[in-house]
């Protein structure tokens, strides 16, 4: 009986997670196109319509997907057939897998059993994220190499160099956070962020680790290959980079992977530095404001507020990715390397040192 219950719960959690991430892709594709248009004083997509409705161009991602689906599935002459076809999957799978450890809501009690709203509550959550996201670059490198073409190869090389440079800063920037929250389990990190700092400020990662947040933010942009770090597909220099030779559905998988990376990045930022599903001052029973004020709320409302808070945070940070893309130009290759090695790496090391020092002074090394 309990085995069946676990199976149903697991399948349901995976289904919800997949539905959530995949349904965000067209929304952010639309947000990207429409947002870019408005930022640049254009109108953006507004033509595709169903039954006379355009919904501000929301059908365009659908039309694009349909178009890509019906295009000729082409493999260039001289490409490594197996790797060429595997590369898009390698790009998409890690992006989806990362999401498995992200808690998107508080644990709930169903039929007398506590169920975590998280596909897998691993005790090595953060390490798992690093392990999986480190793999995602293989899709890009593989695509670049297997295409048997010069520009994809350059794109792949850029991706690998960028991954090596920023993976280090990404890892080191979180060490401080782990030190503060004393856990690498994401559910515990989120739970810890529900408490208050000095009784007034929510103990969010961004407040206890401001420098760590900045470093992590920059490194996540680089990891997701988004502007200003989208060198692997720098259109102005190397056509379309690693996916130059890709078309039809294989291209759409790369496209999806890019947006899922963005969503995962946003979810990570929200989880690690902005309290995940936590709403400031909202306890299980209702709002408990610092001045002693209390506002009782029914348990169901609190639950949905928390889920909503998580979704809202993810949306905001995913939008940040888009917003930054249409604000800042692409870095030059040497600038990317200089920033990674000469700025982010020393700063993240210093952050760990300072964090340790502060913890030592506060807790007396306990």
């Amino acid at each position: 009986m309990s085995g069946l219950f676990d199976l149903v719960v697991s399948v349901a959690r995976v289904a919800v997670m997949l539905a959530f991430t995949l349904s965000l892709v067209p929304i952010f594709v639309w947000a990207e196109r429409k947002g870019a248009a408005y930022i640049q004083d254009r109108r953006g997509p507004n033509r595709a319509r169903i039954l006379g409705l355009t919904l501000g161009g929301l059908f365009h991602p659908l039309a694009d997907a349909l178009k890509l689906l019906f295009k000729e599935d082409f493999i260039p002459d001289g490409a490594h057939r197996l790797f060429y076809q595997m590369a898009p999957m390698f790009a998409l799978a890690p992006a989806l897998m990362t999401f498995a450890v992200i808690p998107f809501g508080p644990p709930v009690e169903i039929a007398g059993r506590v169920v975590a709203l998280q596909v897998a509550d691993l005790n090595v959550g953060i390490l798992y994220i690093f392990a999986i996201s480190g793999m995602s670059v293989y899709g890009v490198i593989l695509a670049g190499w297997a295409s048997n073409s010069k520009y994809p190869l350059l794109g792949g090389l850029r991706a690998s160099a960028q991954m090596i440079s920023y993976e280090v800063a990404l890892g080191l920037s979180i060490i401080g956070l782990v030190m503060v929250f004393r856990s690498v389990r994401l559910s515990e990190i989120v739970a810890s962020q529900g408490t208050l700092l000095w009784g007034i400020v929510p103990k969010w990662g961004v407040f206890v680790q401001p420098l760590g947040f900045l470093l992590f933010l920059v490194a996540v942009f680089a990891e997701a290959n988004r502007t200003p770090f989208d060198l692997p597909e720098g259109e102005s220099e190397i056509v379309a980079g690693f996916h130059t030779e890709y078309g039809s559905f294989k291209f759409s998988i790369f496209f999806m992977a890019e947006y899922i990376h963005m969503v995962v990045g946003a979810a990570l930022i929200a989880t690690l530095f902005f309290g995940g599903w936590q709403v400031p001052y909202l306890a299980d029973s209702g709002f408990l404001l610092p001045g002693g004020l209390a506002l009782g709320l029914p348990g169901a409302l609190v639950f949905f507020l928390r889920i909503g808070a998580f979704v809202g945070k993810v949306f905001f940070f995913a939008w940040l990715f888009i917003w930054v893309r249409w604000t800042i130009p692409r870095f030059r290759y040497d600038q990317v390397m200089r920033l990674g090695w000469k700025v982010l790496l020393p700063l993240s090391l210093a952050n760990i040192f300072v964090t340790g020092l502060v913890l030592l002074l506060i807790d007396g090394g306990a």
Partner: protein, 161 residues
């Protein structure tokens, strides 16, 4: 003449705050968000022209697709002098002349084809025409067809425009 040395202004060195980039990035984000919000609220700053419904009004000297002019009685003004096809750098005008039944007209074009696929819209044909028979004042500049043959405009099509 003595060759002078021209001093080119070097870019200013960035101040400490600027070289941190953080504030500048935030300022930039503010600018883009400003545009976004303004364009969502009202649309008058949007430069997009929604093309097939809204068309740009072309200035009077704009060179669009050609048309052939008619005499008051509806016959083409063209006398098949070949000046346009001679002036044409793209060799896109094909004329076959014929003997007109009207001896005061004498010569008229039996065929007058313009290959729009070849035309470079230079307007030399219009300048060369001694009879003001060919003009490029239709204002139309985006011919689109499904076959190449349809873009070879015949005399009847050119007289229609």
């Amino acid at each position: 003449m003595v060759i002078g040395v021209k001093k080119v202004a070097r870019p200013r060195k960035m101040s400490g705050g600027e070289s941190l980039y953080l504030l500048e990035i935030l300022k930039g984000l503010g600018v883009t968000m400003g545009h976004l919000l303004r364009n969502i609220r009202h649309q008058e700053n949007i430069a997009t022209m929604e093309y097939p419904e809204v068309r740009r009004v072309m200035p009077p000297r704009f060179r669009g697709l050609h048309r052939l002019m008619k005499r008051p009685d509806g016959t083409p003004r063209c006398v098949a002098c070949f000046c346009c096809s001679t002036a044409c750098p793209a060799v896109c005008i094909t004329i076959v002349a014929g003997e007109s039944p009207d001896p005061s007209i004498e010569k008229y074009p039996v065929r007058f084809d313009i290959d729009m696929l070849r035309c470079v819209f230079c307007g030399h044909c219009v300048e060369a025409c001694p009879c003001d028979a060919i003009r490029m004042d239709t204002g139309w500049f985006t011919p689109a067809e499904h076959t190449r043959e349809k873009l070879i405009y015949t005399i009847d099509m050119l007289l229609e425009k």
